[in-house]
Symmetry: none
Subunit: 155 residues, 2 copies
């Protein structure tokens, strides 16, 4: 909960904008300068905190007049986005990535906290580590996709 690292602070700043608007467009160097970090740290923040699994789409353009645009998307209601997410999950999924996705579902009020906790219980390393880690990751992908499809048909 505490924002201890600069990355956390930048994340919070961007999300505070995204709380009001559905998307935000930044100039990387500007943000980097404002928070006194190297520009590539902005990429790090985006890569670790604004993934599709987190519920965000990111587009960018280089060269003169370049930008980075972050857009909040709805994982379940938007069929295309959900398909993209399932596609991203693919055949294998780590515990961390699963955790991120469930958190996003909760943040978007798609599921209750209790439902999320139950999902995480099923997706946890401890529960699924019945064999090799790779098997567990494959299984985790299947279980989470099953959850997502279940949610899809309800909404």
């Amino acid at each position: 909960m505490e924002e201890k690292s600069i990355s956390d602070i930048i994340e919070k700043y961007l999300k505070s904008i995204l709380a009001d608007d559905e998307k935000v467009e930044i100039r990387r160097a500007e943000i980097a300068n404002h928070f006194d970090v190297v520009p590539s740290q902005i990429n790090y923040v985006i890569k670790t905190r604004f993934t599709l699994q987190n519920g965000y789409l990111v587009q960018s353009k280089r060269g003169g007049g370049g930008y980075i645009r972050i857009e909040r998307v709805n994982l379940i209601d938007d069929v295309d986005v959900l398909d993209m997410l399932i596609n991203t999950i693919g055949q294998s999924l780590t515990e961390n990535d699963a955790f991120t996705i469930v958190q996003t579902l909760y943040a978007e009020k798609v599921i209750s906290q209790r439902e999320g906790d139950l999902m995480l219980a099923a997706l946890s390393k401890e529960t699924l580590s019945v064999s090799a880690r790779q098997d567990a990751d494959r299984l985790r992908a299947r279980v989470l996709v099953a959850f997502l499809n279940r949610l899809r048909y309800e909404s």
Copy 2:
């Protein structure tokens, strides 16, 4: 009840904070330094005194701005139904038996219908049939036990 060991003292310190607040967030090295012990002893204290059975949830993050967070949770009153069901399950569980147990949970009002549907999505033959049927049955037992254990408390 004298506090003989440093571990006891650290435990008491953390619990005195948790008496006021629902959760406490520490930096491991800081606490270790304050009580003049090696950092890993903090892990020892947490592992032996802040277990889920004792009513505590622990989360942590490594790297810059890392932390350890301890949260008090409420253990639910009647774990009788859960214990009984866990005993019934054992090492292996068919889809039909899983279905029956989830129905029982719903009938006993331990879970909502939606929660039951999500559970069944994870427990279904289709989701778990990643290998031989016997492996799937074993896995199903683990997943359902994980669900039941998660229902023991509320955060």
